[in-house]
Amino acid sequence: MSDVQDLSRSSQSNAKMAKITFVEHDGTKHAVEGEVGSTVMETALRNQIGGIVAECGGACTCATCLVHVDEAWSEKVGKPSAEEEDMLDFAFEVKPTSRLSCQIKVTEALDGLIVHTPAYQGR
């Protein structure tokens, strides 16, 4: 059900980019470029980051795109909305800094963002 096919629609040339580092459960780091205006989940899928499933394609209805935002970035990224909080109930090992990555928009202010992907997504 993940809508990978859909993602190509939004890639434009000379879009503004922000650096995002995904740290997998086993410590593997991936430093990639995320397009400003897209989401952290989309950035993960485009770069084949392990640990992000995104079954619902970003509709905030599956909770399989969980990330733990790095402590240093948690405040900048901000808190989940009420709808996202409800969805977080379906995720596992939720931490105070956990977010659904499809609900985090890549902005210039998030250039350098570090997020950690979990060992499992709730499936």
Partner: protein, 342 residues
């Protein structure tokens, strides 16, 4: 109860595509029965996103998931399909040319000339929490559904979750269980406010326990749980002695029995011919999210088209001696009679 049910077509899955197939088949005088594991119709639209908007249904600029399902039910009403909800199709066997015998987990047996697999992303099944070492307890003292309440009489229960299922079972089982402990990750509940209030009243009266945190470990042996550890949001771990655990983390789609029907799958999808949406087995069709072909898009729009083309081929199996004449609903009085408008 295993009187064989005879029908022209059995549709496996009552998602939007299975529902629309009833319409396309009905226009051609083909009767359908539908089976779905959910207790409601509408598949993903009803279960995953009833309140969310859909913007890409042709000529319908905006409709919610729930609205789409309602509209489809209205559209297929003239054809009076029979629904078998809360049942999973488990076996499918070819017994004729074409004729199929299909059975469900509730013991129903269908004999049908054609089968439309409209199983979407698969059957909805409860999410399993990745708690280390949970597997040996599953089905023995960890349960994802309550079949018989009496199985939990005088037991110490740990119920996990914050939605309606967790709250409803907390309220239903609290009077018969020895002790109920409800665990939820935060002190806010998605469930109906009335249920939340009732639960809080029971906690205030000392009749049950509420713990805020997440299950981090299990103890027991031979499938029988004896205790669970609950990690609070402050990191402190509490131990609760229990006889059974009921986690309610919502539903996810798993392919399920479709994998056992002898079809060659590609990435858990059923390859079909794009002129008829038939599989390699004559009379066995696959439409909607479950199928695959070059250029496939998992869209409702595409599934509707697939259902229309499938119906044409099914007609030849159901009425082998008749010739099919192409007609428009706008101008054909015979179609309009079937729709109850002429």
């Amino acid at each position: 109860m295993s009187d064989t049910i005879k029908t022209d077509v059995l549709i496996i899955g009552a998602g939007p595509i299975g529902l629309f197939a009833v319409f396309e088949l009905g226009l051609l005088d083909i009767k359908a029965h539908l089976v779905d594991i959910l207790d409601k119709v509408g598949g993903q639209c009803a279960e995953l996103y009833p309140e969310k908007p859909i913007y890409d249904i042709p000529a319908v600029p905006f409709i919610t998931g729930h609205g789409l399902v309602e509209a489809l039910m209205q559209q297929i009403k003239p054809f009076n399909p029979t629904f078998h909800l809360g049942e999973m199709v488990t076996t499918l066997e070819k017994i004729g040319d074409p004729l199929f015998r299909v059975t469900t987990d509730r013991g129903k047996v269908f004999e049908t000339k054609a089968v439309a697999i409209a199983a979407g992303g698969g059957s909805f099944q409860p999410k399993r929490p990745p708690i280390p070492g949970i597997e040996p307890y599953e089905g023995k003292s960890v349960h994802y559904a309550v079949r018989k309440m009496d199985a939990f009489r005088d037991k110490r229960l740990l119920i996990v979750g914050g939605g309606d299922s967790a709250l409803d079972w907390t309220l239903n089982l609290q009077p018969i269980a020895k002790r109920v402990t409800l665990v939820h990750r935060r002190d806010e509940f998605r469930g109906a406010p009335d249920s939340v209030n009732k639960m809080r009243a029971l906690v205030a009266a000392g009749s049950m326990d509420l713990k805020i945190g997440q299950v981090s470990g299990l103890e027991g042996g031979d499938g029988q749980l004896t205790a669970a550890s609950i990690k609070g949001n402050d990191g402190a771990v509490a131990r609760v002695e229990i006889d059974a655990m009921l986690p309610f983390f919502g539903l996810t789609m798993k392919l399920g029995p479709v994998a056992d029907w002898g079809l060659t799958l590609e990435d858990e999808l059923i390859p079909v011919d794009t002129g008829t949406f038939e599989t390699t087995v004559p009379g066995l069709f696959a439409i909607g999210d479950i199928n695959t072909y070059p250029g496939k898009l998992k869209l409702i729009l595409s599934g509707f088209h697939e259902a229309a083309l499938m119906a044409q081929k099914v007609y030849h199996y159901v009425y082998p001696d008749k010739r099919l004449v192409f007609q428009y609903t706008t101008s054909s009085t015979s179609l309009q009679k079937k729709l109850g408008v002429a």
